[in-house]
């Protein structure tokens, strides 16, 4: 149960009065607040620095050192204060956590010192607030690396239930680290891309002369070898493309994607060349097509994160780029026109037309200055210098924007990956703690039944036994107990629920197991109908016997393979929004041989009540106001 919400517990309990008229059964007794303490200030002396706070502030988190009775060990009788021989700086953060519910990590603090303090005060670092969590984790990782400590960052091996072959293939393509085969494929394709690009380049290098003719490029000299290489590469690329096409979850979308277009463009020239005959005019066009083979180099972007980011940056900077282009075009046209008319007068001027001046303007504005076209008139020189100056300005302005965009996106990408990895671990731990809180109730219920049974036998000493839960916990549990009584149903945990379903379906359909469990909606209805059928078969003679036993002993509650929820693991002190959906899937395929008998807590009945509890809940008859828990005995 979370932070200051404990202060709202009186309100929640008061609101429970709304259930009273609706309930049919009597409510359990409230836990008595034996220690009628007024809220008092307590003094915490941490290495000489005195902190003061209300007692109830500290009691908000009963499973930490300061919130529990553990702090009594540090109580100093002479000065009537709690003395801790620890760092007061970090204690400030710890105490603020109690006050506000948010734990912060101060940047100036050493990470291991902070961790030690948190461990001492019994606080989980996972509840550090979002504002400081990233910093904390970063520092922690740095520290671990520095100490050469191998912190396992567990690879997210999602054991997805039986992916189809097609899905595994797609996953292998997209993420080569999933299996060795995928990795091999990844490297092989990378190698062949490199080979293909290199052959394209080397093909055109002049290779030495064949006697009797001019110097030939290597491509023509060793045409067979190059042709074989090219064929091999194209084979590989074709196979890869077809495999990707087959594995893609949405083939239409895959075909439209940029990478697949690049793939197609890279291998088409080869096939077109095969089909084409050695026609003179057509082969000219065919040679031009070969230029598209260079697009194979873009296939590397699948292998390189940085390339992808560059592409993404350019896409996201489209606005700036567009503006740059437009302003450049404007400037080019203006200056080209001016230069043309300025140089019109001079003889043998290279500035034959305005489009011809475009070349001069571009070369000048980008500060290239080839020198193939130079103005000769004075006016031309003046305007030429203005042109080059303005070129520097126009180009220099948008470029830093693009650069900063790239930097931002790159770092964002890095941070996103980091955060993703951290988030999963963090949420898992928080979820565990949260289920701890609901499990705490169930666990204490089982323990509590023992207490209630003992209470009624009138042994006051044993009342205090087992009261490890704080007052707030017991009040919260009492509230949940009232809700159970109002609705005449009990809370159980997921495993027991599934067991019940399993058993009831096992009972009546021993032959077919899985079909009845497949559809979840059908599950509850089948469960319930079978439950009512089954309970009516319970012989009445069974019931009094078990009821008699209930007073003396608790039958063991067998839970298969469950964790041992202890009260101390209920790190329920997390200020969370209750939005985790309990995701049930009744897919347990084990048969359980549990004997589950829940003794009826005889809350207000006198001893020797002989009326048997009703066999099934929610009947149409008006249930007399006695204990109404169902005693269920199931044996397989």
């Amino acid at each position: 149960m979370a932070a200051g919400v404990a202060a709202w517990l009186p309100f929640a309990r008061a609101a429970a009065i709304g259930w009273m008229p609706v309930a049919n059964c009597p409510m359990p007794l409230a836990p008595a607040d034996k220690s009628k303490r007024q809220d008092e200030l307590i003094v915490l002396n941490v290495s000489g620095r005195r902190f003061q706070t209300w007692r109830t502030t500290l009691e908000r988190y009963p499973d930490t050192l300061l919130g529990s009775t553990e702090k009594e060990f540090f109580f100093n009788e002479d000065t009537k204060e709690y003395f801790f021989d620890r760092d007061p700086e970090v204690f400030r953060c710890v105490l603020n956590f109690y006050r506000t519910g948010k734990l912060h990590y101060p940047r100036y603090e050493c990470i291991s010192a902070y961790d030690d303090e948190l461990a001492f005060y019994g606080i989980l670092p996972e509840i550090i607030g979002d504002c400081c969590y990233e910093e904390y984790k970063d520092r922690k990782r740095e520290n671990a690396e520095r100490l050469m400590d191998d912190n396992d960052s567990e690879n997210n091996q999602e054991s997805m239930p039986s992916l189809s072959f097609r899905q595994t293939m797609w996953r292998a393509f997209e993420n080569p680290h999933t299996s060795t085969l995928a990795l091999v494929f990844y490297y092989v394709t990378g190698f062949f891309i490199a080979v293909s690009v290199i052959t394209n380049v080397v093909e055109t290098v002049p290779c030495g002369t064949v006697p009797g003719s001019k110097e030939l490029p290597c491509g023509e000299r060793y045409s067979v070898a190059f042709f074989c290489l090219d064929t091999a590469c194209v084979m590989i690329f074709t196979v890869e493309y077809l495999l990707r096409l087959f594995a893609a979850p949405s083939r239409y979308r895959f075909i439209r994607s940029v990478m697949s277009i690049i793939d197609v463009v890279a291998i088409m020239p080869y096939y077109i060349g095969l089909v084409m005959t050695n026609n003179e005019d057509v082969s000219g066009a065919f040679v031009t097509l070969r230029v598209f083979r260079v697009f194979r180099i873009f296939k590397f972007s699948r292998h390189s994160q940085g390339l992808r980011i560059l592409g993404y940056t350019l896409k996201s900077c489209a606005s700036e780029l567009g503006f740059l282009l437009f302003s450049l075009t404007m400037a080019i046209i203006i200056f080209a026109t001016v230069m043309f008319y300025a140089e019109k007068g001079s003889s043998a001027s290279k500035f034959t037309s305005i489009p011809a001046s475009f070349w001069y303007t571009i070369v000048t504005m980008t500060t290239l200055g080839y020198g193939d076209m130079v103005p000769k008139t004075i006016a031309g020189k003046i305007f030429g210098s203005i042109c080059s100056l303005s070129g520097v300005l126009v180009i220099a302005l948008p470029v830093p924007v693009i650069v900063s965009n790239f930097s931002r996106i790159y770092h964002q990408n890095q941070r996103a990956d980091k955060r993703r990895a951290q988030k999963k671990a963090r949420l898992a731990r928080i979820r565990v703690a949260k289920t701890g809180s609901s499990n705490a109730y169930l666990h204490s219920k089982r323990n509590g039944l023992l207490n209630e049974a003992l209470e009624l036998t009138g042994t006051p000493e044993e009342e205090h036994m087992g009261k490890t839960a704080s007052l707030i916990e017991s009040q919260h549990h009492h509230l949940l107990h009232c809700l159970e009584k109002t609705t005449n149903h009990e809370f159980i945990d997921e495993q027991m629920f599934e067991q019940n379903c399993m058993e009831s379906s096992m009972q009546n359909y021993p032959s077919t197991r899985s079909p009845s469990l497949s559809s979840h909606a059908g599950l509850t209805t089948t469960c319930c109908s079978r439950r009512s059928k089954k309970t009516t078969h319970l012989p009445n003679s069974n019931l009094p016997a078990t009821r008699l036993r209930s007073m003396q002993e608790l039958s063991t509650i067998h839970i298969q393979g469950s964790e041992q929820p202890s009260l101390t693991t209920s790190r329920s002190s997390l200020n969370l929004k209750a939005d985790d959906g309990l995701r049930p899937n009744c897919k347990t395929s084990q048969i359980t041989t549990a004997i589950i008998s829940i003794p009826a807590p005889p809350a207000l009945t006198p001893e020797g009540e002989t009326r048997p509890p009703p066999a099934s809940p929610g009947p149409n008859t008006n249930i007399p106001s006695i204990a109404s828990n169902v005693v269920k005995v199931s044996a397989l």
């Binding site: 200051g4 919400v5 709304g18 008229p21 009597p26 809220d39 503006f323 809180s437």
Partner: protein, 225 residues
């Protein structure tokens, strides 16, 4: 065919707009964050003496209550969302939002959409320190969703369904579809004296006072503070 030409025209217009934006450099506008003007309603409650006079709490108790209230709602008022969140923390098994909604409407006597500390404390005073009569009247007000003075079966169904929602899925015995309905039928049999299908305040008070269980359970939270 007209649809096609219309689409073409739309596409062309969009294309022209994109070119225009590209040229003027306003293609990717920074998303203007909608400044959610959170009306920083900062409400301060009346003085401690006044509240002490109006309710049945002592000064110390009011202090403790206010500290908890202010901690969770620094602005001094609770809105429905916060109310639901707080209430949901107590019931991790199921979904407490519907019942919290009805509770909120019962607390928010002036139907303003927010609960101030005074409303909060007044209601708590009734629930924890009030007479039996007052408590039953408050409960009747809770059940009467549309505040017309009568409880009919649909309202009761909603309330009971909301209570059952708080139980969640993992219950023993398993919750059936018609369990709430049966529960409501039982309730109406008990409460509706003249069998006219609605429960008035008098019928409600009378029936509850006849039932020992209810009387006993109303005293259950007497010493919650």
């Amino acid at each position: 065919m007209s649809g096609c030409s219309k689409r073409c025209k739309l596409g062309f217009v969009k294309f022209a707009q994109t070119i225009f934006k590209l040229v003027t450099g306003t293609l990717s506008k920074d998303k203007i964050e909608d400044e959610l003007e959170m009306t920083m309603v900062c409400h301060r409650p009346e003085g401690l003496e006044q509240l002490e006079a109006q309710t049945n709490f002592t000064k110390r108790e009011l202090q403790v209550l206010y500290r908890g209230f202010k901690n969770e709602c620094p602005s001094g008022v609770v809105n429905e969302e916060t109310f639901k969140q707080i209430y949901a923390q107590f019931f991790p098994h199921g979904d407490a939002s519907t019942y919290a909604h009805y509770l909120f409407n019962a607390f928010d006597t002036t139907q303003t959409g927010s609960v101030k500390f005074e409303d909060f404390v007044t209601a708590l005073s009734i629930l924890l320190r009030g007479t039996v009569h007052e408590k039953l009247r408050w409960t009747f007000n809770l059940y009467d969703i549309n505040k017309d003075g009568y409880i009919n079966k649909e309202e009761m169904m909603d309330i009971v369904k909301a209570i059952y929602d708080m139980m969640g899925k993992y219950t023993y015995p398993v919750l059936k579809e018609d369990t709430p309905r049966q529960h409501v039928d039982v309730f109406f049999q008990k409460m509706d004296k003249n069998k006219d299908g609605i429960v008035t305040l008098d019928e409600f008070l009378e029936s509850c006072q006849e039932d020992d269980n209810i009387m006993r359970s109303l005293q259950l939270f007497q010493n919650v503070m």
